[in-house]
């Protein structure tokens, strides 16, 4: 009896796992297939004829192309600045024990728990107060705020893995603090920093809710454009645009894996003994 229950218990896990996988994958597979639909109208699944017409439509639609270019620009700038900020903050939090360190750490990570809708509104209010009305500036500022927690976290994770004695060894061998940082700390934290940068780019690239508050027509990003198109002219260009977005993220992850090894980044490092 006990055995039977055990088997049933394990089987239940299996069922839940499969169900979860199905719900994750099926919609994506459907979207990908539909993006190759040859029909002119939005028909039933599956598509009877395949073609690249919706991709042609996407790449020849200046609305989407401007949005794609905007997204690439905003995400690149935001991810770069979030990485620089994140690394600086992480080094500070890792190296120095000062009063209010915990509070500062919590403060840096707070955007993780504040709803993005609230973040978007707050950033909009604040930037208006500063007199910044340009859509690009606002988007970049907003995206930095929501991606910095990730760059701090990944950098901090890899910094914590670097033994203090390594830096001290460099100092005793004649390196000053700056050289020790550049030649020992940075290379050893590299995986965490790169992971943070890629994560920041991916998050910024797909960000909708904060962007909705901050964009203006010239600075429409791709996700905002897809959302707008869905409301106004529902056709399968949406599917091809989505697949392009997925593609960008997938390529990024692949490159990351090839260059650094994903498991090395996720389980990074040289741990303190």
């Amino acid at each position: 009896m006990t055995r039977l229950l055990d088997t049933a218990f394990v089987a239940l896990f299996g069922v839940v796992l499969v169900a979860a996988a199905v719900f994750l994958i099926v919609p994506i597979v459907m979207t990908v297939l539909m993006s190759f639909d040859g029909r002119e109208y939005l028909g039933r699944f599956p598509p009877p004829v395949l073609s690249l017409r919706w991709y042609t439509a996407f790449f020849f639609d200046s609305y989407y192309m401007v949005a794609l270019r905007n997204s690439a620009m905003v995400s690149t700038v935001a991810a770069t600045m979030a990485t620089v900020t994140g690394v600086t903050a992480a080094v500070l939090l890792d190296r120095y024990r000062f009063r209010g360190r915990e509070a500062l750490s919590a403060f840096f990570l707070s955007p993780l728990v504040v709803p993005t809708v609230v973040m978007g509104f707050s950033v909009l209010m604040f930037l208006s107060l500063l007199g910044l009305y340009d859509g690009f500036v606002r988007l970049i500022a907003g995206h930095i705020v929501i991606t910095v927690p990730y760059t701090i976290r990944t950098t901090l994770a890899s910094l914590v893995g670097i033994k203090r004695s390594l830096v001290e060894a460099a100092l005793s061998l004649g390196a000053d603090e700056r050289r020790a940082f550049r030649e020992i700390t940075l290379p050893l934290a590299k995986t965490g920093i790169v992971a943070g940068a890629v994560l920041a780019f991916a998050l910024s690239f797909e960000e909708v809710s904060v962007s909705l508050f901050l964009y203006d027509p010239p600075s429409t990003t791709l996700p905002v454009a897809i959302l707008g198109a869905m409301r106004s002219q529902f056709n399968l260009t949406l599917a091809s645009a989505s697949v392009v977005m997925m593609g960008v993220t997938a390529v990024l992850v692949l490159v990351l894996d090839r260059v650094f090894g994903l498991d090395r980044i996720i389980g990074a490092g040289i741990y303190r003994s």
């Binding site: 004695s165 001290e168 100092l171 061998l173 004649g174 020992i184």
Partner: protein
């Protein structure tokens, strides 16, 4: 001129005084060890010399120069960390070359010098390996080569052998001693292992609670400990607490323990009634199964019964309860004799000159090693 000199150095961490008015000096080319239990301030002392900590008071001099305000990279100190701290993203070669590059050794000269040092630590052929591909002993040798390659005024070793297993430790101890002997760099070894301290260095400084308990040649510190802490820290000891009752000849005193064990001790500065602790090393005692044997010699003879016999391969440990009630440990070399069963009546024999007489410490001091090295057993 001393290679390293500490004068009245104090270092506090919050309310804890880690180093308390420490003064000592090391002659050029000398190998000195700082020996003490964990938390005694020896590692802090090392960090003060290396420049990772600044003293609250006192001066640290290296090669005669005051080091106050000097950063680690402004001193000429080679440091081998307990965990070796090899740079994991660099090869063996790059690790050894690192210090020379920082200290401005001409580019063309570096490969030659790296090679020389790798020869010195017998690691030729390992140039392109990463630290993760080396064994513990090999890593330690790379760390040594890296520290020595900058030709420092002083080499600091932090628990150099503690991360290695017992057998390897002995081998590397010999190797390390040979290496230190051939490079003749002034060396300070920090360790909690008395064997390591005794074998590696010419001068042992025993530190406890941030202060020096005793210093001297290894044989002096082992054979003539100045107090109970040093005696216990330097090896196993059988203790008798009591007083000197009368002199029995020049430099000879009759001693009577609180438990009424009576025997003769060698002591120059005694007086009648003086309360003392007497320490006898277990290897200075012997057991005799035949009570009549050797009765004529001047040795002390105390009868008792074996309680436990331990077989340790090279050594035999006999735990004996004396008739007076004290328990003693007697260590004999294993020369093929058999262990006695519990209850065997024996005579414990020892020479009066093997007795270390120390002023009574009153209450038993805190055990420096958490109890496992004392010759007392429940």
């Amino acid at each position: 001129m001393s290679a390293v000199e500490l004068q009245d150095v104090v270092k506090r961490f919050g309310s804890v005084t880690a180093v308390d008015a420490l003064s000592f000096s090391v002659r050029p080319g000398q190998c000195v060890s700082l020996l003490g239990p964990s938390g005694c301030g020896k590692t802090t002392t090392l960090r003060l010399i290396a420049g990772f900590e600044a003293p609250d008071r006192g001066t640290v001099r290296i090669a005669g120069r005051d080091m106050a305000g000097r950063r680690p990279y402004e001193r000429s100190v080679g440091l081998v960390f307990q965990d070796y701290a090899l740079f994991p993203h660099m090869t063996v070669e790059e690790n050894v070359a690192y210090g020379m590059r920082q200290r401005g050794v001409a580019r063309g000269e570096i490969p030659d010098r790296v090679r020389r040092w790798l020869e010195q630590v017998r690691l030729v052929g390992f140039e392109r390996r990463r630290p993760s591909q080396l064994s513990g002993g090999e890593q330690q040798r790379v760390a040594l080569a890296r520290a020595l390659a900058i030709e420092p005024d002083v080499l600091l070793l932090d628990e150099p052998l503690s991360n290695l297993d017992a057998k390897l430790r002995q081998e590397l101890r010999l190797e390390l001693k040979a290496l230190l002997g051939s490079v003749r760099t002034t060396t300070i070894v920090v360790t909690h292992d008395q064997e390591e301290a005794i074998t590696l260095s010419e001068h042992v400084i025993i530190v406890n609670r941030g202060r020096i308990e005793q210093q001297g040649a290894p044989g002096d510190v082992y054979g003539r400990p100045r107090n109970r802490f040093v005696a216990e820290f330097m090896g196993r000891t059988n203790w008798f607490t009591g007083r000197l009752t009368q002199t029995t000849g020049p430099g000879r005193w009759r001693f009577e323990s609180e438990a009424k064990a009576v025997f003769t001790v060698a002591h120059d500065a005694g007086r009648e009634g003086l309360a003392v602790d007497v320490a006898v090393r277990p290897e200075r005692m012997g057991v005799e199964r035949d009570a009549a044997n050797g009765a004529a010699s001047a040795d002390n003879r105390l009868s008792g019964r074996i309680t436990v016999g331990e077989y340790l391969g090279a050594d035999l440990h006999h735990w004996v309860r004396l008739e007076s009630g004290e328990r003693v440990l007697v260590v004999e070399k294993n020369v093929g004799q058999s262990l006695d069963p519990a209850g065997t009546p024996v005579v414990v024999r020892f020479d009066p000159s093997g007795c270390i007489v120390l002023p009574a410490s009153g209450a038993a001091p805190a055990d420096p090693r958490g109890g496992h090295d004392r010759a007392e057993r429940p």
